[in-house]
Amino acid sequence: TARKAVVFFEVEILDAKTKDKLCFLDKVGKILPSFSLYWYPARQSIRLDPKGKSLKDEDVLQHLPVGTTATFYFRDLGAQISWVTVFLTEYAGPLLIYLMFYFRVPFIYAPKYDFTTSKHWVVHLACMCHSFHYVKRLLETLFVHRFSHGTMPLRNIFKNCTYYWGFAAWMAYYINHPLYTPPTYGEQQIRLALTVFLFCQIGNFSIHIALRNLRPPGSKTRKIPYPTKNPFTWIFLLVSCPNYTYELGSWLGFTLMTQCLPVAAFTLVGFIQMTVWAKGKHRSYLKEFRDYPTLRSPILPFIL
């Protein structure tokens, strides 16, 4: 009977900045990354090169380009927070804040308006649309999305919440204001806006479902998304990140519906950010997949 040769590694872990030796392990068959309670796994970045990319949890020591003595560099990523927590907090805020302005909670407008409601029906419609949008996002975070990273840096939650909550308060203040002016073209404008908004909400949801179905539960594999039987996904023929395209459409609809400049500003800033993300995603698709469809643009068909 042949004896199987077992390869043992020696592993040393150095601090990426100071090059101090943090840890030395000899006769390692399997490496377990948790060598400290303070530096919980999500916070640890272990890499082959001090300035290089982090190794993934799934990487196997034997398959890495190291000799029998492996040198890894450790970088503290700082306090981490889970993506789910961040999403739930940043979306719950706008939902509740907008409602506070809608119901004209005291200390926002003049006291004589406390707990009154707007006389314009478009204001009620806008509240329903805005609330629907964020309830949808919360439910998607809980039941639809499959996240590739578990965590992000803690400071992101402060940055993101300031952005979402701040803009929600700013636009809600004007839409629900006693001196609000309804859209110039009245019912026609509102009906068109509502159609665009609903169409894009369904579209956005369809894309999220399609992306979820690309990835089996618990896996982190990446595949090229393709159009499915759902017509709302046919936009994949022209665009890499149609979820952002539909999101832009939704907010354009909401801007048209409320005819409110702060909403337009929020739409613009969101569009800029989503374009940056879409271009990045598009670039990584092109890098990862040799056969990536050439007709696709990052976010706007043929344009951007």
């Binding site: 004007y174 001196l179 609000y180 002016t181 110039t184 409110c260 400049l261």
Partner: protein, 242 residues
């Protein structure tokens, strides 16, 4: 074969030549720009000194130099362009913020609110800006000409320690002095109702601007201090080796 290789090297030489010419044009333009700005702020300094010596008072001084100040300070917008096209290696955002804050002070505070133009705080920040800009632009000029006298380098990395806080005081006092006039006139403000469903109150905007100095000023100040340590400290290390 042989012709293939020749084509390759000819193309390379052409791109290298293009790069070198572009670099030379950029350097020439930057040198001209920095000399022009140094001269402009010097003219401003001379005009201020002459006015004060002749009239013995600072009243009316701002009106006298207003056009020159607006011209040269606005011209500095080009510096954002320099960063954007890459001929100057500084962040576009940092330069943008600095130039915009100057433009804001000049056009949207002192220029539009005439009642505060004779305040002492205005003279304070204009004097500070003049000294700072003359030092800064002459530093860049000499750097580009590869002949940097030590005293200019010393000035650039030491005077800000006093100039920067003094300038901030001048600017804040000026904005503060303008508040009552802004409130009374309702300038640059938009009230409800209007068809864009937005409002803007310049008075509260100015208060927010003043408050924003609190987080921003220390950041910029400590950034300059760190740069100073790196530039001047590096010098000392070299001398030790010799």
């Amino acid at each position: 074969m042989a012709s293939g290789e020749e084509d390759g090297t000819v193309e390379e030489k052409e791109t290298n030549n293009k790069k070198r010419t572009k670099g030379a044009i950029a350097t020439a333009w930057l040198t001209f720009y920095n000399i022009a700005m140094t001269a402009g702020w010097l003219v401003l300094a001379v005009a201020m000194v002459r006015y004060y010596l002749q009239k013995g008072t600072h009243k009316g001084l701002y009106r006298n130099i207003a056009r020159t100040l607006k011209f040269f300070q606005t011209f500095a917008l080009l510096e954002v362009g320099h960063c954007a096209i890459g001929i100057v290696r500084t962040s576009v955002i940092v330069t943008g913020v600095q130039v915009c804050s100057r433009i804001f002070m000049v056009w949207f505070v002192t220029n539009s609110i005439r009642q505060i133009q004779n305040e002492e705080s205005v003279i304070l920040f204009v004097v500070v800006w003049t000294i700072t800009e003359i030092t800064r632009y002459s530093f860049y000029t000499f750097n580009l000409l590869n002949h940097l006298p030590y005293f200019i380098k010393w000035a650039r990395y030491n005077m800000f320690i006093v100039m920067y806080p003094l300038g901030v005081i001048g600017e804040l006092l000026t904005i503060h002095a303008s508040l009552p006039y802004v409130r009374r006139s309702g300038m640059y403000s938009l009230r409800l109702p209007n068809k864009y469903n937005v409002s803007f109150d310049y008075y509260y905007f100015l208060i927010i601007v003043m408050l924003s100095y609190i987080p921003l000023f220390p950041q910029l100040y400590f950034h300059m201090l760190r740069q100073r340590r790196r530039v001047l400290h590096g010098e000392i290390v070299v001398e030790k080796d010799e």
